[in-house]
C-alpha cells in the first residue's frame, strides 16, 4: 500500500505546486498592471527595455522571417504546381505567415532571444539582492523593474510579428517571382483579393499581442521566482523557454479555434 500512497502524494504535490505557481504568476501579472501607472511615469525605462527586447531582436526576426518566407515559397510552389495553380503561391505564403507563422514563430524566437535575457537579468538581480535593496529604499521593484520590461515585451511583440510577416512575404516573393518565374501581377493581385484585413491581419495582431503578454509575464515570473543561486537562475532560464514555447503553442490553438468559430 505504501508505494501507492507515495505515488499519489507526489502526484498531488506536483499538481498543487503547478497551480500554486500559476496563481502566483497571475498575482504578479495583476500587480504589474496595478503598478503600471507608476512605471509609465518613468517612460524612459520602458523605452530602454523596448530597445533591449525589441530592437535587439530585429536581426534574428528579420533573418528567420526571410528564410521562412523563402522556404514557404519553394514548398508551396512544389505542391501548388501539381494542381496547376502556382499563381496562388502569394496567397499561401501571405495567409500562412499572417495567420500562424508570423505570430507563433516570432513568439518562439522572442522567448528564446528576449525572454531568457529577462529571466536571467531579474534572477541575477534577486541573487545579488538588488531587488531587496530597492525595497529597502522604498522603491517598488514591480514598478521599477517588472513593469517596464512587461510593457516593453507587450509593445514589441506585435511590432516584431508585423515585421516578420512582411519580411516573410518579401522572401516568398523573391523565390516565387524572380527565381521560379510566377507572374509578378498574379502574385500580388491574388494575395490582395484573398487576404482580408479584418480576419487575417487583425487576427494575427491579436494573437501576437496575447503571446506578448504570455511570454513576457512567464519570463518575468520565472526570474522573480528563481532561487537566488547560480543553479537556480540557470534552471529558471531553461524553464522560461520551455514554458513560454508550450504556452504559445497551446494558446495558439485556443485562439485559432475561437477565431475560426465565429
Amino acid at each position: 500500500m505504501k508505494p501507492i500512497f507515495k505515488i499519489l502524494s507526489s502526484l498531488g504535490n506536483q499538481v498543487t505546486s503547478r497551480i500554486w505557481r500559476l496563481g502566483s504568476a497571475a498575482r504578479l501579472f495583476l500587480l504589474t498592471l496595478i503598478y503600471s501607472g507608476e512605471s509609465f511615469r518613468r517612460i524612459h525605462l520602458t523605452i530602454r527595455e523596448i530597445y533591449f527586447t525589441g530592437v535587439m531582436s530585429l536581426i534574428i526576426i528579420i533573418v528567420s522571417a526571410f528564410f521562412v518566407g523563402m522556404v514557404l515559397g519553394l514548398q508551396g510552389y512544389y505542391t501548388l504546381q501539381k494542381y496547376g495553380s502556382s499563381e496562388s503561391i502569394g496567397v499561401l505564403v501571405a495567409l500562412a505567415l499572417l495567420r500562424e507563422l508570423g505570430p507563433v514563430v516570432t513568439a518562439l524566437l522572442f522567448a528564446g532571444r528576449a525572454g531568457t535575457a529577462i529571466t536571467a537579468e531579474i534572477g541575477l538581480m534577486k541573487a545579488t539582492e538588488q531587488l531587496s535593496a530597492m525595497e529597502m529604499m522604498a522603491v517598488s521593484p514591480i514598478a521599477r523593474i517588472i513593469g517596464p520590461r512587461f510593457w516593453a515585451g507587450v509593445i514589441s511583440m506585435p511590432i516584431l510579428a508585423s515585421i516578420f510577416s512582411m519580411v516573410g512575404v518579401m522572401g516568398g516573393y523573391l523565390v516565387a517571382v524572380p527565381i521560379i518565374g510566377v507572374d509578378h501581377g498574379a502574385f500580388w493581385s491574388q494575395m490582395n483579393v484573398n487576404v482580408d484585413f479584418r480576419f487575417d491581419v487583425v487576427n494575427g495582431l491579436i494573437k501576437s499581442f496575447v503571446f506578448g503578454v504570455a511570454c513576457t509575464i512567464i519570463a518575468l515570473y520565472e526570474g522573480f521566482d528563481a532561487p537566488p543561486t547560480a543553479e537556480g537562475v540557470s534552471r529558471a532560464t531553461t524553464r522560461t523557454v520551455v514554458t513560454s514555447s508550450l504556452t504559445v503553442l497551446g494558446l495558439d490553438f485556443i485562439l485559432t479555434s475561437f477565431m475560426i468559430a465565429h
Binding site: Y51, V55, S156, P158, S165, N192, V193, V195, D196, L205
Partner: protein, 155 residues
C-alpha cells in the same frame, strides 16, 4: 548607451513596425481594394444557396459592386434570404437578375447581377424577385443520369 541614441533606435523600430503593418494592410491585405463606399441593402430569396457565404462578392459583369451582408433562413417560405450590400455608385434596375454562380470549377460562390430594363431603380430594403439558385452538382448529375436512362437505346 546615450539616451538620444536609444530613443532614435526605438523610434526607428516602431516606425519599421508601423510601415510593415501598413504594407500588410495595403499591399498584402485588401484594405484599399474592396472598401465599398456608401451602400444600400437589398434582399433576394433563394431555394438553395449552395455554398454561398457572408462577405462573398456581388459582381456585375465580373466587377465587384458589393458584398453579401448576411444570410438568413425564412421559416415562412422555407427559403434562404440573402442580404446584399451594393455600392451606391451602382444603381440597378428593379428587374435585375441575381444569380448564384461559382468562380472556376471549385472556386468560391458569388452573386452575379444582370441588369434588366426597368426604369425604376432598386432602393434600400427592396427585394430582388428574379433569382436563380446555385447549381448543385449532385442534382445535375442525377438529372443527367435520369435523362440518359430514359433515352431510347440506339440500334
Amino acid at each position: 548607451m546615450d539616451k538620444t541614441t536609444l530613443d532614435i533606435w526605438v523610434g526607428l523600430f516602431v516606425a519599421i513596425g508601423i510601415a510593415a503593418l501598413m504594407g500588410l494592410a495595403m499591399k498584402v491585405g485588401n484594405l484599399t481594394s474592396n472598401t465599398l463606399g456608401e451602400t444600400y441593402a437589398v434582399t433576394a430569396n433563394y431555394e438553395n444557396i449552395g455554398g454561398l457565404k457572408p462577405r462573398a462578392p456581388v459582381k456585375s459583369s465580373g466587377v465587384v459592386v458589393g458584398r453579401i451582408d448576411n444570410i438568413k433562413f425564412d421559416t415562412k417560405a422555407y427559403q434562404a434570404v440573402v442580404t446584399l450590400k451594393i455600392d451606391k455608385r451602382y444603381p440597378f434596375p428593379k428587374d435585375t437578375f441575381a444569380n448564384i454562380y461559382t468562380s472556376g470549377l471549385l472556386g468560391e460562390q458569388y452573386i452575379s447581377l444582370e441588369a434588366g430594363g426597368d426604369e425604376n431603380f432598386l432602393k434600400e430594403g427592396d427585394r430582388i424577385s428574379k433569382t436563380q439558385d446555385a447549381v448543385v452538382l449532385e442534382k445535375l448529375i442525377s438529372q443527367f443520369l435520369y435523362n440518359k436512362a430514359t433515352e431510347e437505346p440506339k440500334k
